[in-house]
Amino acid sequence: MIAFTTENIHSSISELCGTTVQPENPTELYEMQECVGKGSFGDVYRALDKRSGKIVAIKVINLEETQDDIDIMAQEIFFLSELKSPYITSYYKTYIEDVSMWIVMEYCGGGSCADLLRHLPEHSISEYKVAYIIREVLCGLEYLHSQKKIHRDIKAANILLTDEGEVKLGDFGVSGQIMATLKRTTFVGTPYWMAPEIISRKNGGYDEKADIWSLGITAIELMTGQPPYAKHDPMKVLMNIPLKKPPKLHGRFSHAAHDFISQCLNKDPTQRPTAAALLHHKFLSRASWKVVNNLKREVDLVSILKSRINYFKQPRFSLSDKIYQSGTSRYLATWNFETSRKLAKQNKAIFDEGVKENKSRHLIELNVQNATSSPNSENSPVSGLISPNIKTPATNATTPTMRHYMGEKDYDVSMGVREAEGVKENFQHMTGKELNYFRHIILFSFQRIHERARSQETKVVVDRLKCLFEEAEKSQPGLSEALVEEVYIRMEEIKGFIVERSF
């Protein structure tokens, strides 16, 4: 309906380019529940998949705020999508909602092994249960390494647990790889688990054996509650790992456990066993320990403890905080894209100017009198309609209303004369069709006022008013017509009065 708004340009381009594909809207497919985690990369929510009734985890990454390249994130999502294993948290799908990426993944309601360490009263896990966790992680690593892929960030915090207490390797790709880069502040949080060759980067980097080192450190972490040197400054630890002898497991643990860890923590990566070989280590293969096949008891205990301390997380970005709100324009400005035919009329208009000047002076007077209630006043929430009658060519762009936008986020730079003329053209276009007072006049006007609104608040009020009007018209058909007629008659009267006075 509005001739020169950007939406219109868009829709006309849309027609040119044929049908549009309707993308799936994730807000309709999932019911977001509470925020269950947050990281530098974004927030993680628990959500209900409305189609299957399944609970999923959704990572929400605000792409407008993140510095990371979308290409790199896409590569990491592709990386995730290539992994299918019962030992690895499954990736389902990615959506784009507003300016955020929603990465839908398998939900691990039991939290991570780091959560267990934090909340369990003894702050450690008994050896035979650690053996179970390590075995499951090794199965995940065996799969990953067979795909020529490296996790790079094995630690208790990245070993996740389902509600049933099953172990899943998680949190790589989108978080892992990005976090591993130096620009991330979280880098300082992870040196304790890093293999010496990753830090020294000698001999052209590192391979999947780096994960085996981290697994050894993780085994110590699970059994003692902390990785080695946990009390030391992370940067110092980072420098020391390549220089010092490998850490050892201290304490009263089985010979098998000591041996397993010392095999993982060999500073020469070529001497470290592969994941497949480690699965046969006696630490993991003791028959009596194989009875453990989940950590349900621990998971249940921790969930009770968490609920007791009212454990919840505050997301970094609110989900309702969208940059493209419905009811507001996508755009911060409207441009003048008229056809040049209009320009030709200008010269004539300039000639007419002298005739109208008298009239306009009075209108200005009128405006001054009503300054507090007119949109032309700077105090008004709605920007002024620069009426052709009061505007001189010289002040076109510098009328108060035009200057006023500066401090406002969403402002108006349009509604000049030529647009009014465009409206007229629009009108003539309708000639012959039936005039709908509500749609063609009332709704149209509200839309224009909406565009002129300087603040969000005003827009909301305008929208509400529009809805009320719609209701009124529905229940009392013809109301719009009556109102339009009355406004028109009154305006004519006032105009007549002005014209009378000006002669």
């Binding site: 799936e24 799908k93 784009i96 003048n336």
Partner: protein, 363 residues
């Protein structure tokens, strides 16, 4: 099947022969059981081939045996058959197809990429590859299959002779459509394919693709469609692609066609005022090229002149807190240029108030 053990592979090339044979079984399978069996067999043989050509075995097989394996792959048109049956293979085997294909492409002998040369003589393989993306869309697990083939296409584009085949295939236009599908993976992969196709071999693209005005026209139209209607990510990515392309020196024809059309300018100005700062900055990069053009077309100039004041007002606060000195210099330049445009005297033609709307309409 009774004597299948007789077919137990002995040499590396036996794996290729057996795989080729087993792939045809998908055409006759009727039960899920027999399908599963065919999938398993194919997966086993392909993973065998992968290990040979990765030389991931101990002991490494003799080079003659590997040569023979490659020869068999070419003779039996194995890559073609793998593509035909790709949607039928299981998840892990499909990934192996892409891995095996990528290793084959890198195979060089006597300073020649023998697989690339083979593919040039069999253009139907690249053609099928491009079409398999579309086939994938109709299958379950369409994302996975699309990404499998997508990665094969991306590998092929790295080689100029193969990129030429892709450029000449009308199917390439379909990727503009795929880029607008709601699915993130498919859309991103499609844009990546378009980006690589049109940026990796600029000389080839400029002399054999953008040398035809109708290609330029169609290309701009399709890209504009993505910029105007894609989701947020598609918009950002396609603006970036557009900018990268018009900055490629040999693509002069594209640049000229682009910056002289008022429709393109309109779209870029619209995005310049988008609420997303990333889209604003992306489109500013293109907007500045319109401004810097010393010989602006009349329709482009008309739009700029008509919006002179609006643009100046808008740009004054545009990304004001940026500390990027390059950006600030560019912005200053753009604003100076716009200020130098003639000021337009505004029209004061009759407002429509003077005639009653009723009179205008009821006729």
């Amino acid at each position: 099947m009774a004597f299948w053990w007789k077919k137990n592979p002995k040499t590396p090339s036996d794996y290729a022969k057996l795989l080729s044979e087993h792939l045809t079984k998908f055409e006759t399978v009727s039960t899920t059981d027999s399908r599963r069996k065919a999938q398993d067999e194919c997966g086993r043989y392909l993973s065998g081939i992968k290990q040979f050509i990765l030389e991931d075995l101990d002991p490494v097989p003799p080079p003659e045996a590997i040569d023979e394996l490659y020869a068999t792959i070419y003779q039996s048109d194995l890559i073609y058959d793998l593509l035909v049956h790709l949607p039928e293979l299981d998840f892990e085997t499909r990934k192996d197809v892409a891995v095996v294909f990528a290793i084959c492409l890198r195979r060089s002998k006597d300073n020649k990429f023998i697989t690339v040369d083979y593919l040039v003589t069999r253009p139907k393989i690249i053609a099928l590859m491009l079409r398999t993306t579309e086939v994938a869309l109709k299958k379950p697990h369409c994302n996975d299959i699309f990404l499998n083939v997508g990665s094969m296409i991306l590998e092929s584009i790295k080689y100029e002779q193969l990129c030429r085949i892709i450029l000449k295939d009308q199917q390439i236009w379909k990727f503009f459509e795929f880029a607008r599908l709601g699915c993130f993976e498919i859309s991103t992969e499609s844009l990546q394919i378009l980006t690589d196709t049109f940026t990796q071999h600029p000389k080839l693209v400029s002399t054999e693709f953008f040398n035809q005005p109708q290609n330029i026209q169609k290309f701009i139209e399709r890209l504009n469609n993505l910029i105007a209607h894609g989701n947020y990510v598609t918009k950002r990515q396609s603006i970036k692609l557009l900018y990268n392309l018009i900055m490629i020196r040999p693509y002069n024809q594209l640049l000229n066609a682009y910056i002289n059309s008022p429709e393109n300018l309109k779209l870029i100005m619209i995005l310049l005022s988008d609420r997303s700062r990333n889209l604003q900055l992306g489109s500013f990069n293109i907007f500045k090229v319109f401004i810097a053009n010393p010989r602006k077309s009349k329709p482009v100039m008309d739009i700029l002149v008509k919006n002179r004041e609006k643009l100046l007002l808008y740009l004054e606060n545009f990304n004001g807190d940026s500390k990027d000195s390059t950006f600030l210099d560019e912005k200053e330049y753009v604003m100076q240029e716009i200020e130098s445009f003639p000021r337009l005297v505004s029209s004061n033609s009759d407002p429509f108030i003077e005639s009653s709307p009723q009179k205008n309409i009821s006729g």
